[in-house]
């Protein structure tokens, strides 16, 4: 009997403590909401070198807005991918988030009605000025005529080159055409140096640019893979052969590819503005040039990170006011200067301060020729992981290009639901 009473007492105490703890946190939440400014939370995956620029942006917003305070929680992209779908799908989670660095992810969240359709659109003070935002991003985030996200950033890939290695090899200018590109890459290879640092996975894709330069593509308008067309096989064969000749390393991740260029062991790399500070810190004599002109003209890969609002937020107006500010002129100018990213607005192209910044102007100049990777392709993430990345891995390791491309086509068509 004594044991029973003691047990009950223990449990009772535990319960009381637990309840007290819960009650306490409830009180805090309640009073904060009632009295102070509206508190918004934002989840982002900006863990890279550009993180500080985003944090400064949030700080500026909070300083200039007494009625709205935004807290940004930065976590790795894969953590967001694991937690956000269930958080938003069940009506919890942050008010705002960048769900993924892949713009195609918007479709996934729309399946579960997790995104707020943005209606505070226009050219007013607190409105999202869609007409001035990068058109490719707006197109990617618009579904059935409704806008579900604004670009948190817009980036293009450009050609980074190591000026010291170029000078040592007697090459005085970065390549201007795709044929030059291949020739210079070959010329610069040797003595433990690769002509081109290429990544095949865990990165923003570099390979589509190589294909686009030759006039090729991955998935056509009918969502069917075009990888096995004769032109694409020819282009892929040429590039894969260069890799096998040792002009570019095999099987690198994005981070490994960056490390190679940082170490001065690669003469060229296709990369975005986020890489520039790291390379300068590493002591690389860095040049940034436009991607060489392809057979169909200028082309490069553009990427954009969607910034969306939860359908279940208690503060849809304030959240959209934040988006309007984020994509506004002042914020974008501040962000571009701090990060080297081009602004997400097109009306800042002629801004003298931005034009004077080499990195910003270089990446901004490529915006008109930027193409998004697998834009609008159903299940694009899966097409990338199960179809395109394995294909590149196979052909750079010497597998027959035609056979590998046919197999990838079959897999991709099954994923996109293409009716061929």
């Amino acid at each position: 009997m004594r044991a029973t009473r003691a047990a009950l007492l223990a449990i009772g105490t535990a319960a009381a403590v637990t309840l007290a703890a819960c009650g306490g946190s409830d009180d805090d939440g309640g009073s904060g909401e009632a009295a102070g400014p509206v508190a918004l939370t934002l989840w982002t995956g900006f863990t890279g070198g550009d993180r500080a620029a985003y944090e400064e942006l949030i700080a500026t917003f909070n300083e200039t807005h007494d009625d709205i305070q935004v807290t940004m929680e930065v976590q790795p992209w894969d953590t967001i991918a694991q937690t956000l779908p269930s958080a938003w799908g069940t009506g919890q989670g942050p008010d705002l988030a960048t769900p993924n660095f892949d713009p195609n992810v918007i479709g996934r969240y729309l399946e579960t009605d997790s995104l707020l359709a943005l209606d505070a659109v226009g050219d007013g003070e607190d409105q999202i000025n869609v007409d001035q935002l990068a058109p490719a991003a707006v197109e990617a985030f618009t579904v059935d005529g409704e806008l579900y996200a604004v670009p948190a950033n817009v980036a293009t890939l450009q050609l980074y080159y190591n000026k010291a290695l170029f000078a040592a090899a007697g090459v005085d200018a970065p390549p201007a055409t795709v044929d030059d590109f291949r020739a210079v890459a070959q010329q610069l290879t040797g003595d433990g140096v690769y002509g081109l640092s290429l990544a095949e996975r865990e990165t923003i894709q570099m390979w589509p640019i190589l294909q686009w330069l030759d006039g090729g593509d991955i998935v056509g308008d009918d969502n069917c893979s075009v990888l096995d067309s004769p032109e694409n096989i020819e282009s892929l064969t040429t590039w894969a052969q260069l890799v096998q000749d040792g002009v570019a390393p095999v099987g690198l991740t994005g981070a490994e590819s960056d490390a190679l260029f940082s170490a001065g062991q690669a003469a060229m790399q296709l990369n975005g503005p986020w890489a520039a500070p790291g390379y300068t810190d590493a002591g690389i004599d860095l040049g940034v040039a436009p991607v060489p002109t392809g057979v169909d003209g200028d082309v490069t890969l553009a990427s954009t990170v969607p910034l969306a609002v939860s359908a279940n937020t208690d503060h849809p107006e304030e959240a959209q006011e934040f988006l309007a500010w984020w994509t506004g002129v002042d914020a974008q100018k501040q962000f571009a200067l701090a990060s080297g990213f081009p602004p997400v607005r097109t009306d800042l192209a002629d801004d003298p301060e931005l034009a004077a910044n080499d990195v910003v102007s270089a990446f901004a100049a490529a915006l008109p020729s930027g193409r998004l990777y697998l834009q609008g392709v159903p299940n694009a993430t899966e097409v990338d992981a199960e179809g395109y990345v394995p294909l590149i891995g196979e052909i750079t390791r010497g597998e027959d290009v035609a056979g590998a491309a046919a197999a990838a086509t079959e897999r991709i068509d099954a994923i996109t639901g293409c009716q061929s």
């Binding site: 009997m1 044991a3 047990a7 399946e111 390393p249 170490a263 899966e382 992981a385 394995p390 891995g393």
Partner: protein, 319 residues
């Protein structure tokens, strides 16, 4: 005191009942309830946690595996066994199963072998042996993800320490994690390197528990070297071997963090285990139902293997 006496009395009653004598009805049920309550109450916190965080998700994931499940959707598409049929026709699944089994068999065997060798060699308690033992054990207490990152850096073919050394001695850098043929052996090596200390400690404790008289008696009978190991040491430490084997098998079938950090299942799915595949399908491709089906196949596999191992070792006990 009172609890003890009640417990022993009821124990006696239980035996008597099993023996066939008529149960004494009337007061028993009420007394039993009094005796049961505190036990359940004490267990309640753990049981609640198990029920909420283990039992419920296990059952729920089986339900998911019967649907094309999307988190938070209003209605889910019923597939029946569709996910399982697709899984058994998916070459990636068979590849992942193959990789998982190779990883488990190789790493468990190597860990046992090397762990035993280290334990046997470092049995004596000198200061030198203590230092070496600590060195072996140290990787065990470091987080897998950290170890994966460090090794990935060391093994980098261009800027890593290992290829630097190889080049200094005139060799060519090896693509440890980029070459599909080398990636899995490399990950297995790192896993063994990390876990061999754990096996060593368990077997060391077991070895120290083997009574010295057994060795003396065996020596008097003329046994030495391998025969001593085979007929005295190994049978004496069998429970520890069973424990180590089972824990390691279960852990290695579920290997994820090391692979995720070092290769993320690549290159070309050469290190894609069942759990990395499950993660990719669930959290990258958002196919929760399909990922749940993989989880259940893995669960069944582990259950089967654990039962087999138990049976195997017990059978020899009876022998």
């Amino acid at each position: 005191m009172s609890t003890t006496s009640t417990a022993s009395a009821s124990g006696a009653r239980g035996v008597a009942r099993r023996g066939g004598s008529a149960p004494d009805t009337g007061t028993t049920p009420r007394r039993r309830r009094i005796r049961w309550q505190p036990a359940w109450l004490f267990m309640a916190p753990s049981l609640t946690i198990i029920a909420v965080f283990i039992a419920y998700p296990i059952v729920e994931s089986f339900r998911y595996s019967l649907y094309d499940w999307r988190v938070g959707a209003d209605s889910q598409e019923w597939l029946g066994l569709g996910n399982y049929t697709e899984l058994f026709g998916d070459e990636r699944f068979w590849n992942a199963l193959r990789v998982t089994v190779i990883f488990a068999v190789a790493s468990v065997a190597l860990q046992l072998l090397l762990g035993y060798a280290a334990a046997a060699a470092l049995q004596r308690d000198g200061w030198f042996n203590r230092v070496v033992r600590s060195a072996f054990f140290f990787p065990t207490v470091v987080a897998l993800a950290v170890i994966g990152l460090v090794w990935r850096f060391l093994l980098d073919p261009q800027i890593g320490l290992v290829s630097g050394l190889i080049e200094r001695f005139g060799g060519d850098p090896v693509q440890w994690l980029q070459d599909p043929a080398l990636a899995l052996p490399t990950v297995i090596f790192v896993s063994v390197w990390k876990n061999v200390g754990f096996t060593m400690i368990i077997l060391l404790a077991a070895l120290k528990g083997v009574p010295a008289q057994l060795y003396e008696a065996a020596r008097l009978d003329g046994a030495s070297g391998w025969r001593l190991t085979r007929h005295v040491t190994l049978p004496s430490i069998r429970p520890a071997l069973l424990f180590a084997t089972m824990i390691m098998t279960i852990n290695s079938l579920q290997v994820f963090d090391l692979v995720y950090v070092m290769t993320n299942g690549g290159p070309l799915f050469a290190t894609d285990t069942l759990v990395t595949m499950m993660f990719r399908e669930g959290f990258e491709n958002f196919r929760i139902g399909y990922a749940s089906a993989i989880a259940w196949v893995l669960f069944a596999l582990i259950l089967l293997l654990s039962a087999l191992q138990l049976k195997l070792f017990r059978y020899r006990d009876v022998d």
